[in-house]
Each structure stands twice: as C-alpha cells, then as structure tokens.
Amino acid sequence: MSDKTPRKEKFEDHLRQVEEAVKALEGGKLGLEESIERYETGIKALRQCYQILEQAEKKIQLLVKEKDGSLAAKDFDVPAAEEKPRKKTE
C-alpha cells in the first residue's frame, strides 16, 4: 500500500492540532511566549476547521455515464422530509 500523503488537508488533522494546543496550554508548564505561540497555532487550526466546513460543497448529484466512459453530474432531486414538530414549546 502506497504511503502517499493526501494533498487535500484533512479536517481531523486540524482538529487534532487544536486538541494538542489546548492540552499544551492547559498543562501550565509553558512560558508566556510559548503559550502565546501555542494559542496562535490552536486558533489557526481552529479557523481551518471552520473554513473546511464553510467551503464544503452541499451538492447532491446523479452521475451519468457518457459515451466516452467519463462521468457527468447533474442535480439529483430528493423530496425533503416533512418538517418535524418543534420540540421547544416557548
């Protein structure tokens, strides 16, 4: 199995960076300067998590085989589920 690192950044990698930053900061053993650095790393990774979620496409498509064997995509409509009654009474 090839060990090619995927070019696409993975959400879970960024999340792990955030967790590591939190753990390091909460450990309390870092100097002030290093604490700031860790904080910045953590916040940057956090931003990237949000960015991935924001940029993700929300499309649902049906694939159609073309004559030359390639795949074309067109929108696929699925009727939406009925609205569930709201649980909150206020």
Binding site: L25, L46, E57, L62, A73
Partner: protein, 456 residues
C-alpha cells in the same frame, strides 16, 4: 442358432438373446419409471475430463449410478460434494451395450438447505481463506468525508433515505449517486464496475456506500457475488456496505471496510453529526482563550511580586554585612599584624576606612541599579503582557468575524452557566435559580432558569 421369439408364447422354454432381454428391461423401466425425483447421498463423485459429471446416489438400501451432462452441471447453483444429501431430478436410462442402467440427472438440489444458501456458505469460506475479509486489510472511513458516492438504485426508498440522512446529519458533504441495478441478471457486474469506475474517475472521493433496500435472498443475491466482493476489496476508496435489513448479511458486508445494517445506518456511519462538530469547535475555542488568559495572569503576578521590592530588601542588607565581615577579618589580621605586619595593618586600616566610606555609595549604587532593573523588568513585562493582550484581542476579533458567528447567526447559540463558565450541552447541567449567559450572534443575554429541565 438363436430362435427369435418376440412374443411370450408359453410353448415351452422361451429363449431370449441378451440384447432382447436388455431391451425388454429397458422398455419396462423406461415405461414404468419416467422422470423421477430421487433423494440420496452423493458418493464417488468424479468429474470426467469431458466436463460431464459422474457420481453415485445412495442410501442405506441401495445405490444408483448417475450421470450429469456438462451443460447441466455448469448451470448448478452450488458445487456438489461427496457426502452431500441431495434431491436429483432425472430419468432412468438403460444402456443396452453394457446392460447397465443409470439416472441421467437434469437437476440437482441440496436437501435441507437451499442451494443459494449453500452457495453463499461455499463462496464465503473460499474468500475468507483467501484473506479477503481480513480485518487488517480494512481501512477506516474518514472522519469528515467531503465527497461521498452512493452505488445504489436511483429509484426506491433506500437512496432517498440515505440522502435525507446525510443532508440532516451533515449537510456539508458533496454526494454523488452512481445508479446501478441492484438485482437481476448482470446487476453484480454493474455494481462491481461502478466501484471500479468511481475509483478511477473521482480521485478525491472519500468514501463509497454500496447498498440497497431489503428483499429476499434472491433479490439481494447480486451482493453475494464474487465479482462484487473483489471489487470492494480492490477499491482504494473505503467502502461501506449497506444492504437490506438488519438481519441480512451478504458477502459484500464481509468484504467491506465498514458494515452497516441498513442503508440509513450506512449514511450514519459515513458522516459525522455537524452539530456535534460545531459545539466541539466552540468548546475548544473557549478552552484556548481561557488557558492563555490564565497563563498571562500567572506571569503578571510573578512580575508584580518582583517589582514589589522583595529583591531590593536583600540588596540593602548587603553593605552592613560586608562591613561586619571586614571588621572580623581586620581583627584576625590585626592579631597577626601586630606581631609581624605593622605596615600591612596600617594599609588594612586605610582600606577598611575607605571601604567604610565607599560602602554607602556602593550600596546606594546597587540599590539604584536594582530599582532600575525592576523598573525595566516591570515595563518589559507589561509590554509583553500588553502585546499578549492585544494579540488576544486581535485573534478574538478575527475569530469573531469568522464562521462561529456565521453559524450563530443561523440560530445556534452557546449557553454557559455564569458561575462556573461551563458550556451547557444537556438540560440537566442547570437547575432553577442558575444564572445563564447565552451567546447569540450579536451579543449575550443573561438569564435565570425558572423551571427544572424538561426533556421531551
């Protein structure tokens, strides 16, 4: 000198030729026993090089030789084995030249267990031995797939259930539907081809869900075919199998990286819950800020302590102690000096005197320097602290301008208990009387819980 005696005239002995006898037997059998179903145990199974199959069907009483032609044998849905209990359908044939009879088998079915079930067991065992189901070869499904493909029928409830589940649970996934037939002749080949095609044509595909809704074992059979199992195993993209109802297990389920019980379950296992993700992210953000603030506070108090003059106190004592030591030194020297070193003593006296004069000045210098040092330290500290504070403010502002608020503006809010600062995820974390701070997109609301938690 054979007397041809075709009729059964009781005119003395009737003498038949062997051929005639055999032909009579043949007629008798073939008239009396046309097509039959026979139950028995297979033994002495031997495929001939011609492709025809020969075996014996036996029970406690008797046995009958059987033959199955190549074409018929090839259409069998299972592999016959010695010892297997079967039911055979065929006709008896008397082969005149050898004087032997045999059952020409036209159809064979395993007895007790359906032939499909048997075939399922045989294939499963064969593939398992090959290592196709080895847990070590299974790949994990990515935590947040950005592109997901469904290999399933484009019509029917299953595809709609899967899409709806994905849309509700995690709307930020790009879903592709590769339509295939999920039963009937050629369906297995279509499914296998779809898996292969997706691997080639969509390089950034994160996960594949292969499945269909419930049905009979015949309906689901395509997912028991070898070609599908091999395609799943050969897929670079992790595959979730989602076939039928909870009680249905297919060979595709064994071969897949993740086995789901139903199509909806497949969607659940393939994507995370977006709500949980967002809350987790908001949590971490708060933790980061709190930890940094705590760390900065710690530094500040240490520096405050330094600037408060504790170090200076020690410095001030120094001149007095220095003077003591000099006196002591001088008296000891003096005893010796008075004996042998009057000039030295004189010089020592001078030294001492001058030191005494200098000491206050030295002490003052030291004091000033330490005060100056403390000031420098204090200003550095407050500059570092100010820098930290402004970076925090900036990061806060930058963060505030980004997605968390966008998500908040959609109606999400974050609620924490004022007293402890803990973020509420469940209603039972707060009770009547608790003051709560709720952060909305544009600010916060302070509220108090009126009633005990009510869960629907």
């Amino acid at each position: 000198m054979a007397l041809a005696a075709e009729s059964l005239q009781p005119s003395g002995r009737e003498i038949l030729s062997v051929g005639e006898l055999t032909r009579r037997i043949k007629r008798s059998i073939e008239d009396g026993v046309r097509e039959v179903w026979v139950a028995g145990e297979i033994s002495n199974l031997r495929p001939a090089s011609s492709g025809h199959l020969y075996f014996t069907l036996k029970d406690e009483e008797s046995q009958v030789p059987c033959a199955m032609w190549k074409g018929t044998a090839g259409r069998l849905r299972f592999r016959p084995e010695d010892g297997m209990e079967v039911v055979a359908f065929g006709r008896v044939d008397v082969y005149v030249p050898y004087g032997k009879y045999q059952l020409i088998v036209e159809d064979l079915e395993p007895r007790g267990v359906g032939s499909l079930q048997l075939r399922f067991e045989q294939l499963k065992e064969r593939l398992r031995k090959e290592g196709l189901f080895d847990p070590a070869r299974k790949r994990p499904v990515p935590f947040l797939p950005r592109k997901l493909a469904l290999v399933t029928s484009p019509t029917g409830a299953a595809v709609q259930d899967m899409i709806r589940t994905i849309r509700t649970r995690c709307p930020v996934v790009h879903v592709l539907v590769y339509p295939v037939r999920v039963q009937g002749e050629g369906a297995a080949e279509e499914i296998a081809a779809a898996i292969g095609h997706l691997n080639l044509a969509v390089p950034d595909l994160d996960v594949l869900i292969v499945g269909r809704g419930g049905g009979s074992i015949e309906d689901l059979w395509a997912f028991n075919e070898e070609v599908v199992a091999r395609a799943i195993r050969a897929s670079r993209v992790p595959v979730v199998s989602a076939v039928g109802h909870e009680t249905d297990t297919t060979i595709a389920d064994f071969a897949a990286d993740v086995r789901a019980l139903t199509p909806t379950d497949g969607a659940v296992r393939a994507v995370p819950k977006l709500d949980d993700l967002l809350l987790a992210l908001a949590d971490r953000e708060l933790q980061l800020k709190r930890s940094l603030a705590a760390r900065a506070e710690l530094s500040r108090s240490v520096l405050d302590g330094l600037a408060g003059g504790r170090a200076l106190g020690r410095l001030e004592e120094l001149p007095a102690r220095l003077g003591e030591r000099l006196d002591d030194l001088a008296s000891r020297l003096g005893a010796w000096a008075s004996q042998a070193a009057r000039p030295l003593r004189g010089r020592l006296e001078l030294l001492r005197a001058s030191l005494h004069a200098d000491l206050p000045r030295m002490a003052e210098g030291a004091r000033q320097r330490s005060r100056h040092l403390a000031e420098i330290l204090a200003s550095h500290a407050s500059r570092a602290l100010e820098a930290a504070r402004s970076r925090l403010r900036e990061a806060d502002a930058r963060l505030g301008a980004l997605s968390p608020l966008a998500i908040l503006s959609r109606g999400y809010s974050i609620t924490e208990r004022e007293s402890t600062g803990e973020i509420l995820r469940q209603s039972r974390q707060a009770g009547p009387g608790d003051r709560l701070i709720t952060r909305l997109s544009d600010g916060t609301l302070l509220s108090r819980v009126e009633e005990p938690p009510a869960t629907p």
